[in-house]
Amino acid sequence: MDRGKVMTAEDLNSGKLFGRYLDVDGDGIAYRTLPGTHPSKGAFFTRGTSKDRMARYSEEGADYQENMERLLKKHHTARTMVPPAIERTSEKPTRFGAIYYGSTSPAINEAELLLAEQGIHLDLLRVRGFPFGPEVEAFIASHDHVFVVEQNRDGQLRSLLVNELEIDPKRLGKVVHYDGTPISARFIAGAIAALTAKAVS
């Protein structure tokens, strides 16, 4: 069973260096030990205060900064481990794309058909994880107009895309639904049709 980077009693006895926040292989993910592993090696104290790479209490700025940078690296590593986004390409080549997630899926699938009937073709990207993998950035780069469809007032997915991928907000059309009912295909098709009309005018 894969329990991640767990250091065993054998590892500790063989002299492997253990530091709870020590990045030994550059991915930002440090080894851990399970409580009770070894009588004299590998115990550590998990604490909210700042600590050094060996999990010792520290108020040194350099230790804090190192740990923060390791966490950033860990966050980047996570991009390769979360489920990738799924792309569905339109039958006809198009400059329009839509990004969505979760329970918006059934409505957007139907909206895509409604829009196609109006001659508006859409490539779809269903985001399944965060931090975003490289496929999300590539999808945005390969479309002239991208709509972010979601069910909250503030456009939270759109904000994440803007902040994390440094995308110009003007490149991401906002399609948000927040009246308390589930988003409908009719709503999405109407909103995207209006935005595309604006985009091409």
Partner: protein
């Protein structure tokens, strides 16, 4: 604060227990609490209890919340895994750890702010679920880290260092633990090591939710006249119902006390508690009369200490949930995924 670093060199003749550990092996880093803090006495009592019970330090998990009390796990059991959780959340972190690995000994350390205010719900639910652990509240009646405001366990009418009188009713965690079904309930005083060390030992041997409310005066903010948690006040009003000896399998059990003054209690793990009773009428197996007694003595201005309630055959959370005897974190695929035949059998049983 200046201090001398602890020497790492041990005296060659320092007494070792049967596991080969000296008392020093149960210590932690040097304390940074105020000199004379009651919490340091509790840390020392924990060190002594674990040494005397000959517990392997690495098989103990120590957990705490936030506060002066919750800083103390750094100062004992340096070879144990520790977890300094979010404020008031020690019980749920401990419950999770206990569910993952039932074979470890769980020691939760908390304070009156951590358990009686922000973590009151956590405290309550860990007691009523019977999580197998020792839960020590280092109770000083004030928020020491924020300069001495009254905490929720501060008695009504108690005076702060600046002369403010507390107008709120106090929460009595012992009463709550009794009401919520804890199977081992005690109160002690950090200034009475003779009482506290055996209580911690007995709690560590108890196989259920063991709660110890330990009054631990704050020398900086709650040790003045008018305080009901000062060293002087607690010494004057301490009404101990019993003193305890914990007898593990190796020692000979002898009773040479006057009849009615000693009671032997055998715990589920085979250890024996020898209670030297100071109040012969006190029945520590009767939850309801224990609660009544607490309230009566509290009304009379006394602080009742000692082992207040014990169920020698407790059931714990694992018993309630009927979890596997093998710790959940040690189960492998073969037992976690028993295959389609086993699934078919379950499905057939539901038809």
């Amino acid at each position: 604060m200046t201090f001398l670093a602890k020497p790492k060199l041990h005296h060659p003749e320092l007494h070792k227990n049967s596991l080969g550990y000296t008392r020093r092996d149960y210590e932690g880093a040097i304390s940074t609490l105020c000199a004379g803090c009651g919490h340091d006495s509790i840390s020392a009592a924990i060190v002594r209890a674990c040494f005397e019970l000959e517990l392997p330090p690495h098989r103990i998990a120590k957990l705490s919340g936030i506060g002066c009390s919750s800083k103390t796990p750094t100062y004992f059991l340096g070879a144990s895994h520790g977890f300094n959780s979010v404020h008031g959340r020690m019980p749920s972190v401990l419950t999770g750890a206990n569910l993952a690995n039932r074979d470890l000994i769980y020691l939760g350390v908390s304070g009156d702010g951590d358990s009686a205010s922000i973590g009151l719900g956590q405290f309550a639910h860990s007691m009523r679920r019977g999580v197998n652990m020792v839960y020590i509240v280092e109770n000083n009646g004030v928020y020491g880290l924020t300069k001495g405001q009254f905490s929720a366990t501060s008695d009504k009418g108690a005076k702060s260092k600046r002369g403010v009188v507390n107008s709120d009713e106090a929460i009595d965690l012992v009463e709550m633990a009794l009401q919520l079904g804890a199977t081992f309930v005690a109160r002690s005083f950090s200034g009475d090591k003779a009482q506290l060390v055996p209580l911690i030992e007995a709690a560590l041997k108890h196989e259920g939710a063991a709660f110890i409310d330990c009054i631990s005066p704050c020398v900086a903010f709650n040790n003045h006249e008018g305080s009901t948690k000062s060293f002087d006040y607690v010494r004057e009003h301490n009404a101990a119902v019993n003193y305890l000896d914990v007898i593990t399998g190796r020692e000979e059990i002898t009773v040479d006390y006057a009849p009615g003054t000693v009671e032997m209690v055998t715990q589920h793990d085979g250890s024996t508690l020898r209670l030297r009773k100071l109040h012969t009428e006190y029945d520590l197996h009767d939850r309801i009369s224990a609660m009544t007694y607490m309230q009566q003595r509290h009304a009379a201005g006394e602080i009742v200490t000692g082992l207040l309630y014990v169920d020698p055959n407790p059931r714990d959370l694992h018993g309630h949930l009927k979890t596997s005897e093998i710790p959940l974190n040690a189960l492998q695929e073969d037992s976690l995924i028993p295959g389609s035949a086993a699934l078919g059998k379950i499905n057939a049983g539901l038809r």
